[in-house]
């Protein structure tokens, strides 16, 4: 057993390094999750109220310490705009830290929705293979062959820009993935010995499906979910970028990049660059976590 274990985890990187990366990913995700809870309340400015200061650049690095101590000692009239303000006068920093509330919640809810629906349908389709479930799989195939981004865009744009519609659109494009993954896993699990053993012990089929097959078929879907959360954030931001996402002035990273995009060509980089860094790190953090989960699964 142990030697087998050794061989299959050969692809794993040495422990120390894995921990370093994993630690980084975990830190990012924890911060983002924390911001999703408190982000909208802790910024120096209300993330949805304009200030009279328009297009203020962020302080240079050299100015930051001085500003910081001035701010702490309370000699400033108003808190500094750490990341500048955008063309409407929004404080970029307050919006960047308020945005996880939007991005993460959309990604989590959409994923959760498609995970639950997908696993349920996948279990049925994998466990009971008949004409009805085969037809369901064909429908799922068709849904999966939709070009992801364009379908999401069409759905949101035609249904109307709202958080609910984005969630539905994301769930629509992700559900077939979970159906397929779960079905495949159910099909490979349901012929395993412990399932037959459960049958031999006198379990009903429903019991076997729910108590034995389902728990053992969840892993691929859960790993997929950890990866998909990151991609859902990207997709949400992308939708906002092309104008099929959340409504302004909701603090949302993609929307912020999009509103700043027109200015970047004129040299006003800060309204787009800071939220971009936030997305970049967040999705990376989720990718690291997803990857770690995947490896653990592969190893077992």
């Amino acid at each position: 057993m142990s030697s087998q274990h050794t061989l299959e985890t050969a692809d794993m990187l040495p422990r120390r390094r894995r921990d370093w990366l994993f630690g980084l990913g975990l830190t990012i995700v924890v911060i983002v999750v924390a911001l999703a809870v408190v982000g909208p309340y802790i910024g120096p400015y209300d993330p949805t109220l304009t200030t009279p200061n328009v297009s203020v650049p962020p302080p240079s690095l050299a100015e930051v310490p001085g500003l910081f101590s001035a701010w702490i000692s309370g000699t400033l009239e108003a808190p500094p705009h750490w990341m500048g303000t955008d063309a409407s006068g929004f404080d970029v920093f307050s919006r960047v830290i308020a945005a996880p509330r939007t991005d993460l919640v959309i990604a989590l809810v959409a994923n959760g929705l498609s995970l639950v629906i997908g696993v349920f349908l996948g279990l049925i389709a994998g466990y009971y293979r008949n004409a009805a479930t085969e037809f369901m799989m064909r429908v799922s195939d068709v849904m999966q062959s939709f070009p992801v981004f364009i379908s999401a865009m069409v759905l949101v744009a035609l249904a109307g820009r709202s958080t609910t519609n984005i969630v539905i659109a994301l769930a629509f494009v992700y559900t077939p993935i979970y159906v397929r993954l779960t079905r495949a896993e159910v099909m490979s699990q349901k012929v395993r010995g412990f399932v037959e053993a459960a049958r031999a012990l006198g379990n009903t089929e429903l019991n076997i499906a729910i108590r034995h097959v389902l728990p053992n078929s969840l892993t691929p879907a859960l790993i997929q979910a950890s990866v998909t959360i990151g991609f859902a954030i990207l997709l949400t931001a992308g939708l906002s970028f092309v104008g099929a996402g959340v409504r302004p002035p909701t603090p949302e990273w993609g929307l912020m990049i999009s509103t700043g995009a027109n200015q970047i060509i004129l040299g006003e980089w800060w309204p787009s660059v800071f939220p971009g860094i936030a997305i970049s790190l967040t999705v990376f953090g989720f990718a690291v976590l997803g990857n770690a989960l995947e490896r653990r699964y592969d190893a077992s």
Partner: protein
């Protein structure tokens, strides 16, 4: 062929042969979670010229790691950490990369236990053998080609010209193993390392393959290091035995001496049954003449072939009876339908027709709900212990599941019962709160048995329960099964292809071939006087762990020829007709029936019934 070779070969143990390979204090390690795990830790031994050395050890004892390390290789990310591998006077571990590459394959050949995955799946077989040959020999394209064909022919491949064009996935396991041997021997190495070369092969092919390997090596004059878990292989082919335990050699003895008088406790454990000779296991006697506990009549099972109207005949009119406290062995090659019979008895597969009468009740006619209730009485233990326990459940939950289903015990009672069950199968109660993951095959199989026992069943189907176990665990499990039968009076249907185990464990035995039972009788009858040609072939191919009666020293009876017919288009007459050495024209025309002989033995062969076929008693019974 065999006799000739045997005569030519001189027994190296009798002379002071030159040392080919000398290993000293070899250490191989793998980094696991920052630590070095050392499956090979201080290995030392020697192999002499023309010698066949057997290396035996449990799974995980480091056998395969050691084999690779002899070539200076370790499976990444493993590393050879120290020691010497002296070959022809040079330490391989100190040679530069290019030189050691030249020695691999040319001076030391290796065949491994997973031949199909060891062949490049994307290249034709002939091409791969050619590359191996070219790597060590100067030859033109046509010469290489000729050599390839020659090698393939030498290892017993029919029609080598067309086989050379095949890909690995198009070959059977035995065929792929032969191709590997052709590659390993193409440069006439001085040493052949064979790492469990027959694992995964069927009994009849296994012996045939080992015969051919042994023969070929005799011709090329190589020495062999034969790594195995099978005592039978050791006894029949090796001159000397090395026992590998926890990364080092714990015993090094000539084969007869090893079997007669093992020194190390591990060796004594794995040889325990051999030395006690089965009888002393004390199989409980069966009361004769009582109503059988379970009887099947004309059990049939067919499977539809996808996209066609054809049917696969998996089980064909099988009638068996098993008495209380009795063990019936069901033997046959893979694909003979023995596993299907077991499943049909418990209605894990619905029989196509026939009856299964258990304690006076025909199970086949029971509605599903009633059948579910009956399941506490009839249980099954599967072949693969790793697969048959829900990996997400604790052992306790696994053991109490049948109690939840079939009893109204209180939680406390269930806990107590789970602990009892652990005691019953000799497992530590502390394991109850663990999950199956990380436990060894032997322990897992005991848990499977414990679960089967939970509701006090009267009958258990044992579907090759020992086949994936290491030698030591196998011994323990066999003892356990005998003890349980003695204590609880359970009946077993013991399905196996391992005749050695069947002999230890069974009262009666039935031999299956292509879904039919071809012979039934007591163990004594069938093993010492097999009447059906197929039974005879099976027994003669089986490698009994008896170094006093070595296969390489004796006359090998005619083996079966050709391939097993497809179970889709079965012949009209005797199913064995196409392969039987005793076939006459009438065999092909007449369907055969199972006819009783004297003494309760019965056989499905009109010639055997007519006494035209010698009861073959020369095997190792």
């Amino acid at each position: 062929m065999h006799r000739e070779a045997a005569a030519v070969a001189e027994r190296p143990e009798t002379m002071a042969a030159r040392t080919v390979l000398s290993v000293e204090n070899l250490v191989v390690g793998y980094p696991v979670d920052g630590r070095m795990v050392k499956p090979v830790d201080g290995l030392s031994f020697k192999v002499h010229e023309r010698e066949v050395v057997g290396l035996i050890g449990d799974a995980g004892s480091g056998k395969s790691t050691a084999a690779l390390a002899l070539l200076g290789l370790a499976r990444p990310p493993g590393k050879i950490l120290g020691g010497r591998v002296e070959f022809d006077g040079r330490d391989l571990l100190k040679l530069p990369e290019a030189e050691i590459r030249a020695i691999r394959g040319r001076d030391i050949g290796i065949i491994v236990q997973n031949p199909r995955s060891s062949l490049n799946p994307m290249l034709r077989i002939g091409k791969q053998i050619g590359y191996a040959y070219e790597a060590h020999n100067q030859a033109s394209g046509t010469e290489v080609r000729r050599k390839v064909i020659e090698m393939l022919r030498m290892v017993g491949i029919n029609d080598p010209e067309s086989r050379a064009e095949a890909y690995a996935h198009e070959l059977s396991g035995g065929m792929a193993q032969r191709a590997l041997i052709a590659m390993a021997l193409s440069s006439k190495p001085k040493l052949l390392i064979a790492d469990e070369p027959t694992s995964g092969l069927d009994v009849t092919i296994q012996a045939q393959f080992l015969d051919e390997m042994w023969n070929t090596v005799q011709k090329t004059g190589s020495a062999i290091l034969l790594i195995t878990q099978e005592l039978g292989t050791l006894a029949n082919y090796c001159d000397r035995v090395l026992v590998l335990h926890e990364g080092r050699i714990v015993e090094d003895a000539p084969v007869r001496q090893f079997f007669a008088n093992p020194q190390h406790p591990y060796s004594q454990q794995i040889l325990k049954l051999q030395r006690e000779r089965g009888h002393s296991l004390g199989l409980p006697p069966v009361e004769a003449g009582t109503r059988p506990l379970l009887a099947t009549t004309d059990l049939r099972k067919t499977f539809a072939v996808r996209h066609t109207k054809k049917l696969i005949q998996a089980v064909d009119k099988v009638s068996l009876t098993i008495g209380r406290g009795e063990t019936l062995g069901l033997v046959g090659e893979s694909g003979s339908g023995k596993t299907t019979v077991g499943r049909c008895m418990l209605r894990l597969l619905e029989p196509s027709s026939g009856s299964v009468v258990f304690d006076g009740e025909d199970l086949v006619k029971l509605p599903p709900n009633d059948m579910r209730r009956y399941r506490s009485k009839l249980q099954i233990v599967f072949q693969d212990p790793f697969d048959s326990l829900n990996p997400r459940w604790s052992i306790r939950r696994i053991l109490t599941e049948p109690l939840d289903l079939h009893t109204k015990l209180s939680t406390a009672d269930k806990r107590r019962r789970a602990e009892e069950l652990m005691d019953l199968v000799d497992l530590d109660r502390a394991l109850l709160d663990r999950r199956p993951r990380g436990l060894g095959a032997g322990a897992l199989q005991r848990i499977n048995i414990a679960r089967a026992l939970a509701c006090n069943p009267e009958f258990i189907v044992l579907d090759e329960p020992t086949s994936v176990l290491s030698p030591r665990a196998r011994v323990g499990l066999i003892e356990l099964l005998v003890r349980l039968q003695k204590e609880l009076g359970i009946s077993y249907l013991f399905i196996s292809h391992d005749l050695t185990t069947v002999r230890y464990l069974c009262h009666k035995v039935s031999v299956m071939y292509l879904g039919q039972i071809v012979e039934t009788g007591t163990v004594e009858q069938v093993f010492s006087k097999p009447r059906h040609p197929y039974s005879q072939a099976l027994l003669s191919a089986h490698l009994f762990p008896d170094p006093t009666n070595r296969r390489v020293d004796s006359v090998i009876p005619a083996a079966l020829e050709g391939e097993i017919p497809s179970p889709i288009d079965l012949p009209h007459g005797c199913y064995l007709a196409s392969r039987c050495p005793h076939v006459v024209e009438a065999c092909r025309a007449t369907p055969q029936a199972l006819e009783p002989l004297e003494g309760g033995q019965s056989v499905r062969c009109w010639r055997a019934v007519a006494g035209e076929i010698q009861a073959f008693g020369g095997a190792h019974a």
